[in-house]
Amino acid sequence: MPSLCLDPPVTSRLDPLDERWRSRLEELLAAGMGAGADLVEIFVERNDQLSVLAEQERITSVSPALGCGAGIRVFKGNCDGFAATNDLSGPALMTALEQALGMLGLCRSASASRWQGLAALRDYGSVKEQWLKACPTVPDAAERLRQATAALDRHGRHLQARRASFARDWQEVLVAASDGTFARDLRLHQTTGLTLLAADGDHRATISRRDGRADDPDFLANWPVEDVAVSACRSAGKMLYADVVKAGDYPVVLANRFGGVIFHEACGHLLETTQVERGSTPFADKIGQAIAHPAVTAVDEGLSPNSFGSLTMDDEGMAPQRTVLIKDGVLQCFLSDRAGEMRTGHPRTGSGRRQSHGFAAASRMRNTFIASGPHKPGDLIDSIDHGLYCKQMGGGSVGPTGQFNFAVEEAYWIENGCLREDKPVKGATLIGDAVTVLPRISMCADDTALAAGFCGSVSGSVYVTVGQPHVKVDRITVGGR
């Protein structure tokens, strides 16, 4: 048990995570391999985070956070043991290694390991060193957020609460493994959020907008405050007096950008090798088979510049790839990490990700989207006599048997091939399962776009983007009242 006395040995913030860690890491890796491990991996990180919140005209929260730690994972056969610690001192790291070894019945031995040592450091962070200094200061961020809440005030009606938020996450990571992997990276993720609550008597509407980018110090400065505020206020104006949607089965058009959350949740998670390992995906033996309508081609990649889910390397030190998951409706491959490759045979795709040192990496999505199709968005609307247009999606989730559900934040009826913006509806939830719904995505428009988000799963919360063009689902169950 860690003590609360305030004088334990400790980490030093003046100890950069770079080549100077080589000998320490090699000592740990050699000790692990000498104990009989098949593979040992060490993930070291430091974080410098900041979040700022504006409510109405005031800055009500400025929260800096500093963190550090290491996660050590030991593989033996198909099993692994994982130990994490906040303490980056040599003795603490050795204790963590011994803990991980002990989980697999291994213990350090006096005999020398034949292990060959780490390869040359691949330093992806060296070109990013100045980014943190280029990020907005607290006064800069505060001013920008006040501009945002002021813009809401100018453009909105019946606003009861206005919030704008900014968060910055600076992460320095070092990955070393007994297969020689030795890599360093610096990561910058920044997000903005805008939320308003409109209320008029018993009518209420909550509208949110979120954006995020990776590796872009100028993100906040370039945040289009006015446009975002106008969009949010316009949605609030529509939704404040919207009728509650009547439950039933409808053809649905899902708007591009965040509409892609459905593919992410309903299908993407089922294409991670963690699901194959668990036996909880219906697609485990479907490679080469049609699992979706021929109109659907889906991709997961970590390469798009500044996209929220992009990576220079994954959390196992591997460069990311562009992974075609589904081509013309046919399943092509799974997303895999080191353990996934070992246990399922699906090759690694640079998708080993984790929230922090406190989690072992797992196969996770990055930028996941349905590719553009041949149609115009209007073609999809034209093809529907009576259905629903889902303009803004809320959050969602998928259950252990693949059943998904998604809240729709902003929706309108489609009648006789026309989008009825004068008939907004609220309270809709889309429910179904991937096996049933994927074949019903019958039309894809030519306007694929991405949206930033967060994905929570077995290895914690990670930065992702979701995306799609406007798509038509021939029939889906809409929960309502």
């Binding site: 409510e55 929260s61 800096p64 730690g69 209420r204 668990r278 036996g279």
Partner: protein, 438 residues
């Protein structure tokens, strides 16, 4: 800390620290899968500058340099503190504490955890031929040490232990959809966990969903199981949250105290110190002692959850209630809800009613609840009752408005049952919309 604060000219500060040691195991069809151990520390430093503005910094580095850096960071952040409603140290942070009697339990070796979980998995797998995996399973134990100190001399310290077991089997029959349900148990130590009860509940629930049928979309009377009703109350916790009232995002207003917000059958308290609350906190993030707090009595709103700052802002004699979380902006959350309803319509019974939807568990509360609007639309696991017989519902959502739902409670059936998030009887609500998947 005190010396560093003095050197920086900081007269008022407080510090909250949590240290933890967690171990957990997971198994997969008779084999160990992942074993995890985690040592973690988190500290939140809060300082007041000479203008009375507050700044915070959190860190996981508890060394003297680490805490000094956090103190300096908080001091810098205080320049941007909220001048309109700065918090103060809780006047109750030095009040005497009544200790809770939850003696820490010993930590068991990981091998012991593995053996027990493997045995539990084996029992689940052998319970029914349709159950071939338990994809979500785990046995975990945790030690926590919490400390709160402040410049006014308050020192709070508490050590707790807890253990948890979760089993979510997956069952599938030829030509039918896979089905899953599960069970969770909490205790202060692994030896105290109700393993047999968890195994039985996980298997019974999962098997009960094998024979499923679609449900017609319509308006139904719904009987919420204890977990489901508590989940719904937690999701709308902002109704009793004084900070949310001040922020204008609660369904309640200051004037709502005394109003009839629910059926007269419903009584709800928040009781962090209930014996059923595993690893219950003796004090909150501001050092304020926890307590039992009546929230709704006979359907009338009686109290809000308060921090030091909200109690002062209300200026109506309210005091901090032991529900605060330390931060640049202090937030509030319930600790452990205790529902004690009156029976109401005695003709309503899970053993004899027909056409009633019995909801066992709700899902996706983060997505399907609009707390500021009052609306919810949530997928659930449950059964359609017919003369007391249960038939699993294939897939469906339940939707409604929380204000209306609370007013339409028509019965509270059975003895309250303890769950990880509180205690509740089965609660019957009229007039909720169920959407079945076609």
């Amino acid at each position: 800390m005190t010396e560093d604060a003095s050197r920086m000219g900081i007269a008022t500060w407080d510090l909250g620290i949590t240290c933890g040691n967690d171990t957990s195991v997971q198994v997969d069809r008779g084999e160990p899968k992942q074993r995890k151990a985690r040592q973690s520390t988190t500290a939140m430093v809060r300082v007041w500058n000479d203008q009375g503005l507050v700044g915070v910094t959190s860190t996981n580095d508890l060394s003297p340099p680490g805490l000094t850096a956090a103190l300096a960071g908080a001091h810098q952040a205080s320049a941007f503190g909220d001048a309109q409603s700065p918090p103060r140290l809780s006047p109750q942070a030095r009040d005497p504490l009544t200790p809770l009697h939850q003696p820490p339990q010993p930590t068991l070796p990981m091998q012991t955890l593995l053996e027990r979980l493997l045995d539990a998995e084996r029992q689940v797998l052998s319970s029914h031929q349709a159950i071939s995996t338990v994809p979500y399973n785990g046995l975990a134990q945790s030690q926590r040490e919490r400390l709160y100190i402040n410049s006014a001399g308050a020192v709070r310290r508490q050590s707790t232990t807890s253990a948890s077991l979760w089993l979510y089997p997956r069952a599938e029959e030829a030509g039918r959809k896979p089905r899953s349900a599960g069970a969770v148990r909490l205790a202060t130590g692994v030896d105290d966990l109700d393993l047999e009860g968890c195994i039985a509940e996980a298997t019974e629930r999962t098997i009960s969903h094998l024979d499923y049928a679609p449900i017609d979309t319509g308006v139904y009377t719904v009987c919420f199981g204890p977990e489901a009703f508590l989940d719904l109350l937690w999701a709308f916790g902002s109704m009793v949250n004084a900070q949310a009232v001040l922020d204008g995002i609660s369904l309640s207003r200051r004037s709502s105290l005394g109003a009839q917000v629910a059926s007269h059958l419903l009584t709800v308290a928040d009781d962090a110190r209930h014996p059923g609350h595993v690893a219950a906190p003796e004090f909150d993030g501001e050092g304020t002692p926890t307590r039992r707090l009546p929230l709704i009595e006979g359907g009338r709103l009686r109290h809000f959850l308060h921090s030091e700052g909200t109690a002062r802002a209300f200026a109506d004699g309210s005091v901090a209630t032991g529900h605060a979380n330390l931060g640049a902006k202090v937030t509030l959350s319930p600790q452990w809800l205790d529902v004690e309803g009156q029976r109401g319509d005695s003709s309503l019974s899970r053993d004899s009613s027909s056409g009633v939807v019995l909801i066992d568990s709700l899902s996706a509360l983060h997505a399907g609840v609009k707390a500021s609007q009052g609306s919810f639309s949530l997928p659930f696991d449950g059964w359609l009752l017919s003369g007391g017989e249960r038939r699993s519902i294939e897939a469906a959502t339940v939707a409604g408005d929380i204000r209306s739902a609370l007013q339409h409670i028509v019965a509270c059936e059975g003895e309250p049952q303890c769950t990880p998030s509180g205690r509740s009887p089965h609660v019957w609500v009229e007039g909720l919309t169920i959407t079945g998947e076609a």
